[in-house]
């Protein structure tokens, strides 16, 4: 009898264990928003630029496309992207550089072994694959193919235009100025907004304004090359863009602008030396002795344009056994070269000032004595007054974005706060991965130090989804950030 009972129990037992515990499916829904037609308007960040280039891979992993695919689960429709020709994933193919100069198309940056000026080899970003010694293979990337106009297949749901500023969106003729939009525009005079509006979107994502201040920043604060859009113009243009996008009752989500201090392009190269020895310090002090004395002489002269305070702030001293701030050119200093041509506008970098991640700058610092025996040119250095201008602009833009979003009942993703969190010491932990804004090793940024990595874009896509969910009582599924690939080394 007992044996019989056991014979009953065992199959039941095995049957039970075959059934893993199950949960009901999570109730995902679109809440009060209609996602049937989704359009994204923005710049390289919404287009999907990574590592200094737009590729088919980047477009597939763009914020716009990631969100669009998630929206499909809650009623979203097709999301058409102007995919760059070429095979996705094929290194160097299907790639368009963010800045096309002289009609050249350059592959995206690769992570590879790079030998620097001091003959030290380490992992770093490079345009050419390791071992490749020939010229840039322009022929492999004919502009006619990659930049051919594809408006006939439009309208496109991803209207992220690499390089676009807010003030470009409503500018007729922008298609001729920017080949990224030139590909998509139906006519030379069509504006980005006109092109985007052809979708009759029910829901939009707008992330614009970064380039209205970033161009100035990446050029080390150059008003001539890339003026900062004034806050008044930003305010007017932002309202104008939203007037268009919401015209037919569409709802949407916007995002504000991150501070430059959250972006590795501005935080990677330190503004000071490694610890130097006493002999080097003495040598440098001897070399700058004449400059320091010259400043005092100018101050002492009658009717001097130079105050003692400025003279003192410009004096250059190095101390052995510690790190020392680099010597930099600061165009905002009082120009006294007419009094003494040797007294150029230089000083040592101050805490909080930044150097940009320009190609070649590290080599110049390492091997050409930039920052020590020679001042670093001003276009590599963001000084305090430039930083103030940048921060003031970002603050003003963000105030506009917030008030416009609130006034129009739109969702807003606080990208500035999120990137500050990323830039903090602890970074952001997602599924066991610690993300920071550290260049390459932080995992969140691509090799250009400005644009996010694939995982970085996935994080931001989730942040947009969270903002939409909160505003429209929706429950759009997020993506599993850890399932997106990390950067691989190219050999």
């Amino acid at each position: 009898m007992k044996t019989n009972k056991l014979l009953y129990i065992l199959p039941i037992a095995l049957g039970l264990v075959a059934c893993e515990p199950e949960f009901d499916d999570v109730d995902f829904n679109g809440g009060s928003a209609d996602f049937s037609t989704f359009v994204t308007v923005g710049n390289s960040l919404t287009a999907g630029v990574q590592s200094n280039a737009l590729s088919a891979d980047g477009q597939i992993n763009s914020i716009s496309n990631i969100i669009a695919q998630q929206l499909k689960i809650v009623g979203g429709g097709e999301f058409k992207q102007p995919i760059i020709p070429g095979e996705p994933g094929e290194k160097g193919a299907g790639v368009v550089n963010g800045l096309i100069q002289g009609g050249l198309l350059v592959p995206e940056l690769s992570l590879t072994y790079v030998t620097n000026c001091a003959n030290v080899t380490s992992l770093g970003p490079a345009i050419l694959p390791a071992g490749f010694t020939g010229p840039v293979p322009n022929a492999a990337y004919p502009a006619t193919e990659f930049l051919a106009n594809v408006a006939i297949d439009g309208p496109y749901n991803n209207m992220g235009i690499s390089g676009a500023r807010l003030v470009d969106l409503n500018t007729p003729g922008y298609a001729t100025a920017n080949p990224h939009f030139g590909r998509l525009a139906a006519s030379p005079t069509e504006t980005v907004i006109e092109s985007a509006m052809k979708n009759n979107a029910t829901f939009f994502l707008l992330w614009i304004g970064n380039n209205d201040v970033l161009g100035y920043s990446t050029r080390g604060g150059d008003e001539g090359m890339a003026p900062i859009t004034s806050s008044a113009q930003f305010s007017t243009e932002y309202a104008r863009v939203l007037d268009s996008l919401t015209k037919n009752g569409a709802k949407g989500v916007v995002a504000n602008i991150p501070n430059v201090t959250s972006i590795p392009y501005f935080t990677t190269i330190p503004t000071g030396t490694d610890a130097i020895d006493d002999a080097t310090a003495a040598l440098l002090n001897a070399a700058y002795g004449a400059y320091n004395a010259g400043l005092d002489q100018v101050v002492a002269a009658p009717g001097s344009p130079l105050t003692q305070a400025e003279a003192d702030s410009r004096k250059i001293t190095f101390t052995g056994g510690q790190i020392n701030p680099f010597v930099v050119i600061d165009p905002t200093l009082t120009d006294i070269t007419s009094i003494n041509p040797a007294l150029i506008n230089m000083r040592q970098s101050k805490p909080g000032e930044l150097l940009i991640l320009a190609p070649g700058l590290t080599d110049s610092l390492t091997c050409a004595q930039w920052g020590t025996a020679k001042p670093i040119p001003g276009n590599f250095h963001i000084n305090t007054s430039e930083l103030t201008k940048i921060n003031d602009a970002v603050d003003a833009y963000n105030a506009t974005i917030k008030s416009e979003a609130n006034a129009r009942g739109l969702a807003m993703f606080d990208a500035n706060a999120r990137l500050k969190q990323l830039a903090s010491k602890d970074g952001i932990n997602i599924s066991g991965i610690n993300f920071t804004s550290t260049f390459v090793s932080g995992g969140a940024f691509s090799l250009d130090g400005v644009h996010p990595s694939t995982r970085g874009y996935a994080i931001i896509a989730n942040d947009f989804i969270k903002a939409i969910n909160a505003k429209y009582a929706a429950n759009i599924p997020q993506v599993d950030v850890a399932a997106y690939p990390a950067i691989e080394v190219s050999q």
Partner: protein, 399 residues
Amino acid sequence: MTVMGLIPMLALAGGYQVNLQGNKQTGMGHLGTSFYLGASSTYFNPAMMGLDSNKFSFEVGGSAILGSVTYQNQETGISESTDNPVGTPFYFYGTYKINEKLAAGIGVYTPFGNSVKWGDDWSGKNLIQDISLRAIYIQPTLSYNINDKISLGAGMTYVLGSFEINRAVPAPIGNNNSSNLQGSETGIGFNAGIYLQPTEKLSIGLTYRSQVDIELEDGDIDFTVDPALQAAFPDGKFAATLPLPATTTLGIAYQASEKLLLSVEGSFVGWSTYESLDFDFETNTSSLEDSKNPRNYEDAIIVRVGGQYMVNDAFALRAGFYYDQSPVTDEFFNPETPNSDNLGFTAGLSYNINDNFGIDASFLYIAGLERESEYQPSGFGGKYKGTVIIPGIGLNYKF
């Protein structure tokens, strides 16, 4: 050590405690602190070893743990389940009644263990891919009957512990980086018990099993990483300490009739000792700092009720129920030990073939209550739910 390779287990009770130390007791809610059921009292309450009327008493047995835990991410909708190997905890007890007062015994059993296999590529792979934790206790014990009403027992425990963990390395470069940590070490502890029989029908037992720390000095860590990362993640040795917490149990049994025995027990498990699982790597690099993994467990209780009905002299039926509180908080819930408050439903039977030889069988169904928790230090959370069934069988022999 080869024996240990055969007994992976699933976290059954709170944390990684495994309460399956006797099929008779398991059948009635794993109760057995306050009434004598054979040589297994070496574990359940060593004070009772001298209560046997036989000179020698032996028990041997084991269980098959068939269980699975399912995880569901509430934000992505992803749902994944463990594919755990079948756990096979076992026990062996032998007691020798030296005289009417004194008895000696030895027990070999497996009160802690954990075997969870989520897979190499599941969404929490950076926290854990799979873990196998094993502890075998060897416990020589003496008991002394002070009089008819009071007995005492105590012994030492010698513990063989080992574990192996596989988890992905979330490095920023490369997509197939993983680590394997393993090691084995011994530990020492003790246990003690008191048995009281104030009346013929009422008995009381109180036991204490001390904490045992498995202090691993020379574990091996082996990285499989992208060639570019090999210098940053060197293979080598590590040290770590895993505590096996103290348990205090108070039980009361009442002989309701000649055939029916009822009992209730409460246990207090000192899980708050498990604050952090730290790996101290012999070789550190800027990418490989010592790994601090807060656990912040809280002390937990287990409440058990159960009964035994003697159908006749040869045949016993048992049933029981217990509530087993999880020591894991909602902020530090790591899928490596996916443990929720458990409800255990048990049934069992014994059949004595003759005066010397008997068979014990038990069946345990554990329903893990659904919980929604996160391991905040890693930013990984969701809903978890587990189900386990455990058939067990044992033999007893006495003369």
